[in-house]
Structure formats: C-alpha cells, structure tokens
C-alpha cells in the first residue's frame, strides 16, 4: 500500500511539470521579441550600441511560440535546460550551483525551525500563562513582524561588523580556493556535506560559520509561527480525553506530554513546515542579497527581472519537483505520527 502510494505520487510529477512549463511558456506569447531581448541587453547604457534587429534574429526571438516551446522541450529531454543570459551560463549549471546553496541554508533553517519550534512551543504550552510563555509570545510577535532583511542587517552589524564572528558570503577566500581546487570533489554542491565527504572538517566549519546568520534570519518568521502553532496545537491536544486518561493512569507529566500529546500535536506543525518550503525559496532573495549568499532566491529574481525564460522555466521545474517531494515526505510523516491515517 505504501509503495503504491509513493509510486502514484511520483507518477503525477511529469504531468505537473509539463503543465507548469506550458503555462509559463504561454506567458512568452504575450511578450514581443524586443521585451525578451532585454535580458541580452541588461544595461540601458549599452542599448545605443546594440544591434537590436540582429540580436532578435540571432537568438531566435521572432520564431513562432510553439516552435520555441517544442525546441525547448526537445532539449529538456536531452538534458539541456538551455542557456541563462541573466546568469551567463547554462541553466543546468546555474541550478546545480545555486540549488544546493539554498538547500543547505534551508536544511539548517528547517533544523532550527523544527527543533527550536517544537522545544519552545512545548515549553510555552507546558508553562501556559506563566512568565516564560508571555516572554516567548512577545518574541514570536516580534519575529513575525520584523522584516527578514532588517533582521539580517542587524545580525550582520552586530555579529560581523562589531564582533567579526560570522562573515557574509558562502565561504572565506581560503576555503573557496580549497573547494575550487582539483583535489576537492563536489559530490552534492553543499559545502558542509562536501567538506565532510572530502575529509575537510575545516571547510565544513567554515561553511557552517557563514550559514549561521543567514539561516537564522531566513527562518526567523517561520520559527516564530511554528512556536505559536506548536503551542496552540499542544494546548488543544492536552485537553483531549485520552490525555486525562493517561494522567489518571499515573503516568508522569513528562511522559504524557512527550510520548502521547506531542506526537499528535505535531501534525499541523508538519503540514505548516511543508507548506513553508516553497515560500522560503522566494523569501530567500532578500537574505541572499544581504549576506552575499548566491542561492536560488537571487537567481530566480534576477531571471524574472530579466525575463530570462530558460532560467525561469528551469527554476519552476526544479521548485515543482521539490514541492512534490516535500509533500510526499509530509504525508509519510503523518503516517509515522498517526498510524491510523491510511493511504487509500
């Protein structure tokens, strides 16, 4: 049953991606060749020197839209996502360097959200209406209200500009030299993991050092929301009859909360975290800009700004795949948390 469920889910993926690519490409039909040309002339100051008509022909921007789509689709099946004029490299290469950077940041952020959100949310529920609860409720309000880039800049000023602890960028120059050398093998594109796999713990630590601030800034509002959601979900669960039963059986409060209540309280939290993943892709652009962290957010925004359709399509396909997998993982986690959930 489980296998069937997984396969069925995965089989929907090609259909979703096909519809997604078609919808995005259909937007191209609304653009003139000159609007699409903008990505090849990024700077208004060079427009006067640019051979506009020649460039339109050179890049095939005046071809019929369905021809352009079919050519693109054919290349995708051959593993070629096209060229990104905004990134100045093949789309696949841009994604393979940008995507792991964002995944790395997101994983660290999700760890912070998951463990921090659950721990603090549990604490506030257990200490309902006490000082600790009030404090964290106030902090979560701030966390949700404060714009991410303001938090990012403040963190950078305090922890980098004043203290020099956590610099911006993805790696320090010496670490970039190591990672860029022929001796260093790129297995995943994630500097932390690749550092460990290459036996370079110094690279792992250096990468972590550069990720701490952006990961925190990135996940702050989701962490705040998760704490609140965990708190309210746990409070509701603690009022259920089976909890009273558990208590009346003589179980300790710790066992009641951790073993019985929390599991069930996690369901809405897991759902929320699952839906926050695609949102975090978009929110990454500001954090990536402030911290000089070259990830997917910045790439997608630059592609959108320049109407770089190969990059937009490639990104959309990748994010589509991520969403399908994340939803699948969320559904599987449901089953683990609540065995009564069936897949049929």
């Amino acid at each position: 049953m489980l296998k069937k469920f997984i396969i069925k889910r995965l089989l929907t993926l090609p259909l979703i991606l096909f519809i997604l690519s078609g919808l995005i490409f259909s937007l191209v039909a609304f653009l003139s060749p000159y609007e699409r040309l903008a990505v090849f002339i990024p700077d208004p100051e060079v427009y006067a020197q640019a051979p506009v008509e020649e460039l339109v022909i050179l890049y095939g921007l005046d071809e019929a839209i369905h021809i352009q789509y079919l050519n693109w689709l054919k290349n995708v099946f051959l593993g070629d996502l096209g060229w990104s004029p905004s990134a100045r490299m093949p789309v696949s290469r841009a994604l393979s360097s940008r995507f792991p950077a964002t995944v790395e940041l997101m994983l660290l952020g999700q760890l912070v959200i998951f463990f921090g959100g659950i721990a603090i949310g549990t604490y506030t529920a257990k200490n309902h209406n006490k000082l600790g609860d009030h404090f964290f409720r106030f902090m979560t309000t701030l966390g949700i209200a404060f714009p991410g880039f303001v938090v990012g800049l403040l963190l950078l000023v305090i922890f980098y500009s004043w203290l020099g602890w956590f610099p911006p960028g993805r790696l320090s120059p010496w670490a970039m030299d190591v990672v860029g050398s022929l001796e260093f093998q790129r297995y995943t594109g994630m500097n932390t993991l690749d550092g460990i796999l290459n036996g370079r713990f110094d690279v792992f630590l250096n990468s972590l050092r550069h990720m701490i601030l952006p990961a925190f800034a990135y996940s702050l509002s989701t962490l705040a929301a998760t704490i609140r959601l965990m708190r309210s979900s746990l409070l509701e669960t603690l009022r259920k009859d089976y909890i009273y039963t558990a208590r009346s059986k003589g179980l300790s409060e710790k066992v009641v909360v951790n073993k019985h209540a929390r599991r069930n309280a996690l369901l809405p939290v897991i759902t929320f975290m699952g839906t926050s993943v695609p949102i975090m892709f978009g929110g990454a652009v500001i954090i990536e800009t402030v911290f000089g962290y070259p990830g997917m957010g910045l790439f997608i925004v630059q592609a959108a700004h320049g109407l770089d359709f190969p990059a937009i399509l490639g990104s959309a396909l990748l994010v589509g795949v991520v969403i399908v997998f994340v939803n699948l993982v969320v559904d599987l986690l449901y089953r683990i948390l609540d065995p009564t959930i069936r897949y049929d």
Binding site: S32, P44, E45, R88, P90, L205, L208, T289, V290
Partner: protein, 587 residues
Amino acid sequence: MRSWKNIVLIVLLLTLAFSAGVQAKDTFVKASRNLVDTLDPQLMVASATMELSFNVFNSLLIFDPEDRDTLHPSLSTQVPSYDNGLIVDTEDGGVRIEFPVRQGVLFHNGSELRPEDIEYTIKRALLIGGQPASIRLLSSTLLDKGSFQVLVDEIGYDEAFEVLDQAVTVEGNSVIFHLPKPFVPFLGIMADGGASLAILNKEWCSEVGAWPGTKETGQEFMGLTIEETALHDKMMGTGPFKLASWEPGERIVLERFDEYWEGPATMSRVIRRIVEDTSTAIMLLQRGDVDWIDLDSPADLPRVEGSPGVKTITDIPTAWLMKMNFVFDITEEGNRNIGDGQIGPNGIPGDFFSDINVRKAFQYSFGYDVFINDVFLGSALKPYGPVLIGFPTANPDNPQYYYDPEKAEEHFKKAWNGEVWEKGFKMRIPYSAGSLQRQRALEILKDNIEALNPKFEIELFSLPWASYLAEITAKKLPISLLGMLPQVFDPYLPLFQHMHSSGSYARDCGYDDMAREKYDVLIDELGTNYDEERRMELSHQLQLYAYEDAHSIFHFQNVANIAIRDWVQGYIPLPQPFNVDFYQIYH
C-alpha cells in the same frame, strides 16, 4: 537534551575558532555588484568584463591615463603616424597603417606573441560579429560594412572572406591594416587597453575550440553568441594577470603573471567578488575583508568617510553621459503615451517634437542644477554637449541650456504657431523601473513644465526594463532616457552616435533626415581628416548644431566615487566607470 546542547555549543565554538583568515598583503580584493558576462573579449559588453580583459590582455596601443590625447605603444613598438611613415595614403584613396610588433612578449602559456596572433585577433573579431562598439566600428572601417554578415549577404562568403583576408596582413614583423579610406579614430580603437581588441593567441584559441583561423571553418563561427563561444570561460593573454578561477556569480580570481613584458605586478593575486548589497559591501570594507568598493550613490559617502583604515576618492570623471532624447516621429498607432494624437488636453501628435520651439522650451524647462544636487548631491557634471567632458575637442564654451522658465514660456508660446500654449498638451513618459536618476529627471521636467501652464500635463510611470526596451524599439516613447558610453577617446564616436544619420540616435529618434542634410558631411570629414585644427573646427561646429537643434537634453555626465582601504596605492582613474588597472596597485 543536555548532550545535544553541549554538541551545539562545541560546534559553535569550533566555527568561531576558524577565523575568516587574515588578508594577505599581496592580495587585492574588489567588491562589485556587476556581473561578468563572458570571458570572450570580443563578445563582452559589460564594463565588469572589460575590467578583467584590461588586466589579462594587452592591445596594440594604449592611452596615457593622465593625458587622453596621447597614445603610447603597447604590443606595437611605435604609434603609427604620417611622420614616422607608418601611416601611408594609398593610390586608391585608402590608408595603410603599419604596427611593428614588440618582440619577446609572452602569453600566459609561455608562447611568444607573433604578428599572426594580431592578424587572427582582428579577423576573428570581424568574422564572429563581435558586439562591442569598437568592433562594429572596426567593421565599418575595414570592411566598409556594419558587420561581416552584411558583407556576406551582399557578395557571398567566399568573396567576403577575401575582403577580410586582405584587410589585415602580416609583413615581416609587422601587422598591416588596409583601410579603404582614412579613419582617424582607428588608432583610438587600437588603444582600448586590451578590452574588446585584446590580442588573442591564435594557436591556443584553435586548441580550445575557437575559430582556427581558416576560411573553410569560418562560416561555422559567424554570428557567435556567448553560449556558443569556446572562450566563454577561458582567458589567456599577455597582460600582467592571468585567470586563476571563475565562479560565475560569486568571484573571479586573477594571479600575477611573473613573465609580463613590462615587469611583474606588485599584487600577486586579485579577487573580484560579487557583493549585491551596498550595506554589506561597506561592512566588508570596514572589516578589511575587501579593499575596494564602488559607491553607486553619493549618499553612501558619509557611511564610509571617517571609517578607520578607509579612504575615499571622489569625483572621478567617467566616460558616461546621460541625455533625454526627444523622439521626432513617435509611433501613433495604438500608442497610449500620446493620447488622442492631437495637440490639446488629451494628447500630442506623433511629430510633436519636430518643432524646434517645443524642444527648446523643454530644454529651458529642465532644472539641471537641481537635478545634479538632488540625485548626485552635486557630484556629477553638466555636459557641454554630445562630446563628453575630458574628450578631445570637447568645447567648454559651447552654448548651453540652463533652467530659464521665461525663455521656456517664450518658446512654448511660439510652438506649433501658438497652438501648444493655447490648447495645452498631455503626454505619458515612462522611465525604466528602479532607475532613480531617470525617475527624478522626469519628475523635475514635469514639475517645471506643468508650473508654466495648467493646460500642460505630463504623466510619468515606471516600466520594467524589458518593456521599456520594447517601447523604445517601437518608437512609442515621446522622450527616452538613454546615454552614451563611448569606448574610444575620439569625438567622432559620440558625434556619430548622436548626430549621424546612420547613428543609433538620429535613426531611432527620427532626425535622420536632418542629419543627412546637415551633419553627415561634417561627421564623415571628422572621421577622415587627420588635421587637428580642422577636426577641432568640425567638432565645435557639430557641438554648436547639437545646441541649436536641441535634439536632446544633456543632463549629466557621471563621476565615480569609490571607497578603498588606506593601504591601496597607485590607483589611476580609468575612463570606464569603476574599472581598475590592477597593475598599478601596490601596498
């Protein structure tokens, strides 16, 4: 739970223990938000790429950085001239220009520079249809066509290649250029400092998959794009630095070339690092993790001035001029920017700006000083006209327009036989989204014009660059805000661009007939006459015409401001905005 806390604490401490590392004193780090578009010098258009090319390659000549009227030899041993016999008029009305090639110059791979490399470089630039303006200019000069493709379309590939082949030849240790007619800016094109006309190594290019230099293979490489070029991610020249690594979107690293023919540079390493956010760049500079940042806005100066270890250099002249261009023949069909297409409260006709009094009225309506003070905090120059300040023959005594509401009113009252003043007008003018200087320039113009007569209405709105570009090419904008960034230090290029009937502005703004009638002859002579006095006369006359015919409001010429670590010495301003000659930098 306690063990988890301990693990997290230990990991945090360890990450702190691995410091960012102290910057080596022989490494220079520049932070910039400008991306490198390609490493192929003949396809690059971004100024960021030109900076790299400038430091990795050499060209035949080079401009004196402190005296832009003077050329020096670089890979050539002499600057050709009539006096030294290296420029000779030919019987067919053309010109033969000879460049004796310097001996003993090594490329980064150890091979020696030969005249055939120079011959190959020029031919490749023309064959592939290189996009930089200097290559297109070279094409017009040597092939008498805008591009090699145009020549092929006219006479076929075989014959066109013969023309190409004969345009540049090698004789002994010299490279000879055969110009069908004189072209004075030619030497300036050859002195772009290793930018677009960076000299490539023919053998190496062939090895890595670029055009091998033969006729048989030429057609495959015509119309080359960035994604197709084998040189997109490779650079190998004769310059003081060689490419070490390029992580697109992150950084590019250059290393000193110890066998550089002028002697090794002081810096052993140069890193050009992408930093998108100005606040982040300032913090990096203050901490010493970068040594140089470009300050896009003068408003950022107070944030760095006074920082320990940091100094600023301000008001660096650049070769970037901005103007507001009137379109004489605005497309009327389906164009919301001109309303009902009639002079009156609901629109303007497509030929609104063809009336000289309308143009002059707009010229006198613009608050030039207010704009420069408002947007640039006084840190910009008011241009004299189309020839940029700092360029040869730029005329500081050329009459100019200033904000004068009385004169503006006077001209509005004369415009279209008084109809404009009586009936009023309405137009919509977009600006490119995100461009503060464009937005502010239009706002000042709008406010001043509307203050003259309540019947005048100008509506402003922003458009994404892509849409703005489409509107320009469709001639739907009443006024476009585009500038000039000439790469050759000769008045011919900006005057050609602005005023020749084949130049982009006359053509796109609809005054090409006027250009054919009045300016083309003068500009053509400017391009072919070597007599300096006569060139001065011609240039001044054209600048006067630009004033009298008022095609554009020349509202500012950019100056650059930079902030650098105080150990950085030897910086010499280059005319391309924010480009740095790393060879001159020392600690």
